[in-house]
Symmetry: C2
Subunit: 292 residues, 2 copies
């Protein structure tokens, strides 16, 4: 049945696995009944995804995974996406739409811009990470209510963009169109640098060698450092492919931390109070706006 | 009935209010049936606590609140505790045990050491903050399973320390004895500096003026910055009374963040990978140990 709408999901980790499960649970028959072909290097993952019925077919061969697909979704770490893009374009059907789910977009969109015109690329980023990686952590509801950023390229056809938007809606996400550079600056601020801060806190904690701290760590430390438990390969790719924006926001964070330190060291209570009040009000506004 | 075991709770915010509610729900009759006198400046809070039955009596007068108490628990911000201590000692019954619930201990224990011998002080800190303050956020289960640090002074009697331990157990907490300085270094690492980091992240976010960041902020930013929503008066007191340890740990955090920045800026992928892996492993070990 090669006329059946076929989706190839490359990478069956948290993102790809959850996408497959979410499509199986989609309301519209077009998405729920699509033929899903999953690609993963790991044979155990492939076997589990096929056994679960998450995908109809599993393969470790990229050409086989994408050759019959109307839509190819790349769910691997960012630098693997960059490496796979030319190969996907070579093996995909003419007119196939190629979307990715990587957390930085400028490098991927630059790679997509160089693909031959026979495929229709759209950059994508659903904002729904958790600190657990792998197919075992996948869940059908991962994308529910989350923003799914789409970065169309100058030559992306309206139909291809519409398909990407429909995919986002089918899995319960909210599509939001942005250019890659604006996206990358925004996620540096709200995700990549918070990750770096969490990792830095845990490194300081580990180096500080204060045994009682291990006994007393409670919900505050748990939440502030949660992102430090993220998959290292994934985060390394993100940081290295979003370097300018991450460095810029890391400098903003260091400056902000330094100002708090100065006010505290100098005992300038009014200055310190103003800084902490601004942070408290901003955080409260954001929480209300986001319904946290 | 002045022979009834009487507990005075000074401050009926999140901590004091939750203490009253937890005592009402205690298993042992001694604690469940104790007479509770609550003190708060705010008349609405007092009326609510009396109406709820959280306390038997409410007053805004410190002398009246403590004069019949066998046990006085101070649940106000740290510098208010410091200010109230001499007054509590002056008005309390001879032999009364005085415990506090402030988040920094060195300054409070120094103040306690100067009290006349007629009262029995014990420094205390239950590790159960949440970012919401006030009596409206109080709950009977706040202390359940949480560590309750106790800092006995050199002249604290064994009976007074035992009463403090029994109080912690009565509300479902786990008493843990520490000296004030070790406590203060540990909570700087796991609470006060994570708060400063969260506030710094939110300040950088606010100053960065990146409108899309407001749309994309998701669970990672929510958790990493949760502590920035903490009550400013409370945190200001904590930072200013735990300055040396907070500054030391802020410098450790800045150093750790700077090392990550350097490795990223120089594209030293192996170094960056080692740093992030150490953070990931430490965070995972801690999460397992704490059953997060």
């Amino acid at each position: 049945l090669t006329t059946q709408f076929t989706i190839s999901i490359v990478g069956l980790g948290l993102m790809g696995g959850s996408l497959a499960l979410a499509l199986r649970a989609a309301e519209q028959p077009r998405w729920r009944e699509a033929r899903l072909v999953g690609m993963a290097r790991n044979k155990t993952t492939l076997a589990a995804a096929v056994a679960d019925g998450a995908v109809d077919e599993g393969t470790s061969d990229l050409a086989q995974a994408v050759c019959e697909a109307d839509l190819v979704v790349l769910g691997t770490p960012v630098r693997t996406i960059l490496r796979l893009l030319p190969e996907v374009a070579r093996h995909a059907k003419a007119g196939a739409v190629v979307i990715d789910m990587g957390s930085s977009k400028a490098a991927i969109c630059a790679g997509m811009a160089e693909l031959p015109a026979r495929v229709q690329p759209v950059g994508g980023h659903p904002l729904c990470g958790k600190e657990l990686a792998g197919y075992a952590s996948a869940e059908a509801t991962l994308y529910q209510g989350k923003v799914f950023v789409l970065c169309p390229l100058p030559n992306t056809s309206p139909d291809a963009l519409r398909l990407a938007q429909d995919l986002a809606l089918a899995i319960g996400a909210r599509p939001l169109i942005s250019d890659a550079e604006t996206h990358d600056r925004a996620v540096a601020a709200i995700s990549h640098v918070p990750y770096a801060a969490a990792a830095a806190l845990v490194r300081a904690f580990a180096a500080g060698d204060e045994p009682l701290a291990w006994e007393l760590a409670s919900s505050g430390f748990r939440d502030t450092t949660r992102l430090a438990g993220s998959d290292v390969d994934m985060m390394l790719d993100i940081l290295l492919t979003n370097r300018p924006a991450v460095l810029e926001w890391m400098d903003r964070l260091s400056g902000s931390l330094g100002e708090i330190r100065c006010a505290l060291a100098d005992g300038r209570e009014d200055v310190l109070r103003d800084m902490l009040t601004l942070a408290q009000e901003t955080r409260t506004n954001l929480a209300q706006r986001m319904k946290w």
